[in-house]
Symmetry: C2
């Protein structure tokens, strides 16, 4: 049995067609059934649907053999203990700084609210900007509005979340996409099954160009 | 202006009647309008609706003058820098260990999945049980099902979440309720307004008995 960890939301949506090309279609719909473990059209494959932040943990400990997670989450988690064989090129977005549209440029000493503490620390250190980082778990866009921080570091896709809160994107930290990660022991023990899946994903990605 | 930080979900629901008794009723409904800052029927009071985990941070930094947060979140955050003047006795539940219904008693060396790392560490250390703690951010109940951990530490209310996953509650770690927390500087600077609110809450709580 192969267990694949996938997070709810955008990554799940974007992963479905990719999984389908490998013959893997969930039998239950997580939106309607509340189940967290989904059987699939392949008897030997199941999906576990979890928080994005938990995907590297499940794969690291071998509770899932493979997982699909954003590069943002992998960098923040520190995923040295995982193989990351494939950029799936799905759930693409940008990790950016953002500030109120009337706020001055980000410089000098700044307060930054983010859930990406490590990436943010590294980024501002690289620029020689002294940043006080305030760790949040959700709704970063609220922080500048209530004076919690001067700016935020968050994912930007359409930019609608920022705009709705009178914020604007400032600097690009990095482009983000979702990656396939594999547990190191599983890569040895279930090599055949995993390699076959990897080949199928690669073929689909090549077709997409 | 007084800003009160409240988390979505159960705490918000339970806080509404208490706030109403103090003349504070949100003008917008966060469920339908997606706004994170809610004006209220009192011109001098606004609510910010955020993740439970973020409430102590907002109050600590003074982005909110007061907040309503579960004792679980406060203990885990380490809220030495906040006043905690009132147990609101709402959103009551229990922080418990839980395991698969067929699993042996929790003893010896155990793997525990939880988002309450500090509380869990302290709890098992107190019992002399060697616990390897695996930090998760959501859906703890999944961990024993996929072999990630022997047990979990999570909030239990009706017990339905556990039962739906073939788990059962084991030991009570502590009873949990939501507390009012106040920023220390605000307590001085806005003493009159805050003290009046505290008195109103206390009166309501006394009536409830
Ligand atoms: O530029 P936009 O198209 O508005 O997208 C950006 C939003 O998407 C991300 O959140 P997501 O919806 O993934 O959920 P999260 O808040 O739980 O991270 C991100 O944190 C922003 O809030
Ligand atoms: O015993 P029950 O009545 O089933 O309640 C317990 C559930 O409630 C809590 O989650 P909550 O719904 O507060 O959301 P969370 O998962 O985001 O913590 C807790 O984490 C359990 O999942």
């Amino acid at each position: 049995m192969l267990t694949i960890a996938v997070s709810k939301g955008r990554i799940y949506e974007d992963a479905l067609p990719l999984l389908a090309e490998a013959g893997i279609t969930p039998i239950d719909d997580p939106l309607t059934c509340r189940k967290l473990i989904l059987r699939t059209t392949r008897d030997d494959v199941q999906l576990v649907i979890i928080r994005a932040t938990d995907v590297p943990t499940f794969v690291e400990y071998g509770a899932a053999d493979m997982g699909i997670a954003g590069k943002d989450i992998l960098l923040e988690h520190g995923a040295e203990s995982l193989y990351e064989p494939l950029d799936l090129n799905i759930a693409c977005c940008r990790l950016m700084t953002a500030a109120h549209k009337d706020a001055p440029p980000i410089a000098g000493r700044v307060r930054v609210a983010t859930k990406y503490v490590k990436i943010t620390q590294r980024y501002f250190a690289g620029l020689g900007i002294q940043a006080e980082i305030i760790k949040l778990y959700g709704s970063m866009e609220l922080a500048p509005l209530v004076g919690l921080s001067d700016c935020i570091v968050d994912l930007v896709d359409t930019g609608n979340t920022l705009k709705a809160n009178d914020l604007e994107p400032r600097d690009l930290i990095m482009n983000i996409s979702s990656r396939l990660v594999v547990n190191k022991a599983a890569m040895k023990m279930k090599h055949q099954a995993i390699q076959t899946l990897l080949d199928q994903f690669e073929k689909t990605l090549a077709k997409r160009g």
